[in-house]
């Protein structure tokens, strides 16, 4: 009796399992699913990852049934290493949101799909984006990606700390910066904090002083990085530092009070940073932004941002292309702008200020902003800047000596 009951249960169970499996197979047969993997360094400190996972990808999957997007957010500091490991092991995703400074390096390694050849509508898509960010995808005759978001650094300050420093407004010129820094010091706060001497940190000062890193064809640094104008830009910061008007985090040590912490604690008034700063700190500090203090060369900042690139090893290029188009659509760009990502679409800029008022200063600053040297050797160039320039801040060398030495080393890399 007991045995026959078990037999019945077994038979019934088998029938149910077989029916379910057949039904499942029928569904899969009717609707084949393609999964594309998307590596990115969208920040989980702010609202970016949430916006991508909860709003953008669900909407894409709704409008593109049969394509599943696997989002793999990776901390920014680890993404480059992860890409390198992926390249060596032949395990890259379909799409990557790459920092603009990595695209020449990745293209040079031969792991990226030239999108101007792969996408039949590349020209149409490219035409909707700003020329500057688009140019960061260009390497040796081809475009290897499309711009996804752009940004630049502006002079961001805590209005509370500014008032505490006894100042009525942010400095507009180099001369005002020098005067205001001394006033702030007398009140026991630093007017301006900068977290290092990389290109991202210091190029705005070199350019605003009228100097440059290299010639216009990016083949020579000597005569440019160590020109009197470039030297003057760095000299101004060195003078501020030596007068005790800038904190020592510019030397790159990890023990100092970081820019965000310093501003939150009211010890620093300002730093240069991108729009994400408002998304991250906006809730805790009263922040405002303005253009970088102008020098003899004007107010010139550095272009940052990310491009979306497709890997050569992608097995789902058609689906990856669809997601690329979707990420460049006005709707998706608008959604990411709400999370602090500045759009690359020309037609969307007017809406940006409606989304967040702080974008207005970024739009103004980006009009004159310049890119870092587009070369696969950028990480080494950046390392040279971070090794040589602090010598001038520490007084081991003059600014001229430090920049002469840096220019010579960068010449060898170019």
């Amino acid at each position: 009796m007991r045995l026959s009951r078990m037999l019945v249960v077994f038979v019934l169970g088998t029938i149910v399992a077989v029916t379910a499996a057949t039904a499942g197979a029928r569904i899969n047969g009717a609707q084949k699913t393609t999964t594309i993997t998307f590596w990115n360094a969208y920040s989980s400190d702010g609202p970016e990852v949430k916006r991508l996972d909860k709003v953008i990808i669900p909407q894409f999957q709704k409008t593109h049934p049969g394509i599943v997007v696997k989002d793999v957010p990776i901390p920014y500091d680890s993404l480059h290493q992860k890409l390198v490991t992926g390249i060596a092991g032949g395990q890259l995703p379909d799409l990557v949101r790459s920092d603009i400074i990595w695209v020449p390096e990745l293209a040079n390694l031969g792991v990226l799909e030239p999108l101007d050849k792969t996408l039949p509508d590349f020209k149409k898509l490219a035409a909707t984006t700003f020329a500057g960010p688009l140019a960061t995808n260009y390497w040796k005759g081809h475009y290897y990606g499309l711009p996804l978001d752009t940004n630049t650094r502006t002079w961001n300050y805590s209005t509370t700390a500014l008032a505490a420093a006894g100042l009525s407004g942010p400095p507009k010129t180099f001369a005002e910066l020098k005067t205001d820094a001394a006033i702030a010091k007398a009140k026991g706060v630093y007017l301006y904090a900068e977290g290092g001497t990389s290109g991202w940190n210091l190029l705005p000062w070199i350019w605003s002083a009228g100097g440059s890193l290299t010639n216009s064809t990016y083949t020579k640094a000597s005569g440019y990085l160590n020109s009197p104008k470039s030297v003057a830009g760095i000299q101004m910061l060195v003078d501020l530092y030596k007068a005790g008007e800038m904190p020592n985090i510019i030397l790159g040590g990890t023990g100092g009070l970081g820019t965000y912490d310093g501003i939150t604690q009211g010890k620093y008034v300002s730093t240069l940073d991108g729009p994400w700063m408002f998304a991250i700190l906006g809730g805790t500090v009263k922040l405002a932004g303005t253009t970088i203090p102008a020098g003899p060369g004007g107010s010139v900042s550095v272009v940052g941002g990310e491009d979306i690139v497709m890997t050569k090893t992608s097995k789902n290029k058609a689906a990856a292309a669809e997601f690329t188009r979707f990420m460049l659509s006005p709707w998706a760009q608008n959604q990411m702008a709400r999370a602090g990502q500045m759009t690359v679409l020309k037609n969307l800029t007017k809406q940006l200020v409606k989304i967040h008022p702080y974008y207005s200063v970024y739009l103004k600053q980006i009009a004159t902003a310049r890119p870092r040297t587009p070369t696969p050797k950028w990480p080494q160039i950046d390392q040279v800047l971070q090794t040589e320039i602090p010598k001038a801040f520490k007084g081991d060398e003059t600014v001229q000596q430090a920049l002469d030495s840096a220019a010579k080393q960068i010449d060898a890399l170019l």
Binding site: G110, G252, G253, G255, G256, L257, Q380, Q383
Partner: protein, 289 residues
């Protein structure tokens, strides 16, 4: 005979797979301008990467820093580990509790404690500066621990000792518990005091264990990476680069895997040579006959 080799085979296969193959491969890569993307040609440059290392001032600084870390952490861990082991070998109350307490740092994650120590050594508001300056006024000013070469290396060294002392303690304790009680009792009957008993009976008995601990600690000291990478990132201005952080930067930031492999291979040779020297030094006079 064949049976013996068959018994050895699984272990040797594993050793070959996870040790011999990577070493051979690293050596091969170190002889090339290595192209990381599969399918791209790599240029053979012989010992070019090794010559580059010998002319690279940061390589030498990294070697000195790795050596400093080793010299700072190894004797300290041995002495403190041994002292705690001797104390715990005595019949103290709550012995198990203290044994666990001292061993606890060993099982913590390097990443977590490195970040924690980075905060402890922060110039303004870090616990060390609070204690040395604000609480006890020993230094009279805040030390920029992580902003200068030697203070940063000391900070990394303190973490290494804190995290590693429990390991040497537990090995020494096991060895001390194996010292025959009769020998100690006989020495006591002969009138030897505690220090004399330790020096003449316990220490010679645990000599092979001291050798083992020293050799492993020296190897570990030269292989320091995570704590430096997370606490100082080799900076400022490469002042605190150790061989492995410099190797990592070359390989993963500059994509120069050939040079990175050359650095790691040279480190392997240095550690190998040091281990041979130590084995010889620790050999008892009777072993050589």
């Amino acid at each position: 005979m064949i049976a013996a080799y068959l018994f050895l085979a699984p272990g040797f296969a594993l050793f070959a797979l996870v040790i011999l193959y990577p070493i051979t491969r690293a050596f091969q890569i170190s002889l090339y301008h290595w192209a990381i993307a599969p399918g791209l040609p790599s240029e053979f440059i012989g010992f070019g990467n090794y010559t580059k290392a010998l002319h690279d001032p940061v390589f030498w600084r990294g070697l000195v820093n790795s050596g400093f870390y080793m010299a700072f952490t190894v004797p300290t861990q041995i002495v403190i580990g041994l002292v705690i082991a001797v104390l715990l070998d005595a019949h103290l109350p709550a012995r198990t509790f203290f044994r666990t307490l001292f061993y606890l740092p060993v099982v913590t994650s390097w990443v977590v404690v490195s970040l924690l120590f980075r905060y402890l050594f922060i110039t303004e508001g870090g616990l060390f500066n609070w204690f040395l300056n604000d609480a006890t006024h020993v230094t009279g000013h805040n030390i920029d621990w992580l902003g200068q070469r030697w203070t940063a290396m000391v900070a990394v060294g303190i973490l290494g000792v804190w995290k590693g002392v429990g390991w040497s303690m537990i090995i020494f304790l096991a060895a001390l518990q194996g010292v025959p009680r009769e020998l100690k009792e006989a020495a006591a009957v002969d009138g030897a005091k505690a220090w004399a008993r330790f020096r003449a009976v316990s220490l010679p008995a645990i000599r092979p264990v001291v050798a083992f601990v020293t050799i492993l600690l020296v190897m570990g000291g030269f292989n320091v990476f995570i704590s430096v990478y997370l606490m100082t990132q080799g900076g400022p201005q490469n002042a605190t680069q150790v061989l492995l952080t410099w190797m990592y930067l070359q390989a993963f930031s500059f994509l120069d895997f050939g040079y990175g492999s050359a650095i790691s291979f040279m480190l392997t040779l240095i550690v190998f040579a040091l281990s041979l020297v130590q084995l010889r030094l620790f050999r008892r006079p009777s072993d050589s006959t």
